[in-house]
């Protein structure tokens, strides 16, 4: 197992490269969205949430097409997209609250 770990550590998108830490920084958005999941509906900003929805779709495509292909970034934006769409649904009254 440690051979696999060592291989990952030295890989071109591994933790010694910016290709890893860039997406790690972007997980902050996801964390913030998850913490906001229970905040009151009237505190949700439809403008910012809508912007985040479009932003994450664009970057899901970007992370797929960029060289090297960045699965961590893809996962980050897929999660953010889910969270933001959920928030938008809450704001629009589509959830049971």
């Amino acid at each position: 197992m440690s051979a696999a770990v060592r291989a990952w550590v030295k890989s071109p998108t591994g933790p010694m490269t910016t290709h890893f830490w860039g997406p790690v920084a972007n997980w902050g958005f996801v964390g913030a969205a998850l913490m906001d999941m229970n905040k009151p509906r009237d505190m949700i900003s439809p403008k910012m949430t809508g912007v985040m929805c479009v932003y994450s779709i664009l970057f899901m495509r970007f992370s797929w097409m960029v060289q090297p292909r960045n699965y961590l970034l893809f996962a980050c934006h897929a999660s953010n997209e889910t969270a933001q769409i959920y928030q938008l649904g809450r704001w629009a009254g589509l959830t049971k609250e």
Binding site: G22, A25, A32, V51, Y55, F62, V66, P68
Partner: protein, 131 residues
């Protein structure tokens, strides 16, 4: 998988006179990080977030979230470097992240200066209002 709208648009646009007659402009428009690719539109859209953050410089300092602005600044700095190590090199992504880091840093400076001023302001209020 997806209907190939963009290649069709690209074929039409590359036939335009203004592009056919200016090979340098044509090279710019057709570049690997140019407007026919996601490498252009994703960072361009990110400008919306940066502009929103710059607009937030006018909001009262108490409403500024320090953890969020630390995240914004760190993101901006890391991604400025990232945009040079990917293929294709992405100057749009670089510029938007430089501004993101700048706006985050500006917000943190506002917070820092407000935190330093508060004890003095409170003392002044106490002197003016002895009751």
């Amino acid at each position: 998988m997806l209907p190939s709208v963009v290649p069709q648009i690209r074929a039409k646009v590359m036939e335009w006179g203004i592009i056919k007659n200016n090979p340098k402009f044509a090279a710019l428009v057709d570049s690997p990080a140019g407007p026919f690719t996601i490498h252009f539109w994703a960072p361009t859209f990110k400008w919306c977030i940066t502009i929103a953050n710059i607009a937030d410089l006018a909001r009262p300092v108490e409403n500024v979230s320090t953890p969020q602005q630390i995240a914004v600044t760190a993101t901006g700095v890391i991604w400025s470097r990232y945009s040079f190590v990917i293929t294709p090199v992405n100057y749009t992504l670089f510029s938007v992240n430089v501004f993101m880091a700048g706006s985050g840093f500006a917000q943190l400076s506002r917070k820092f200066m407000a935190a330093n001023e508060t004890p003095k302001a409170e003392a002044e209020v106490k002197v003016v209002n002895p009751n």
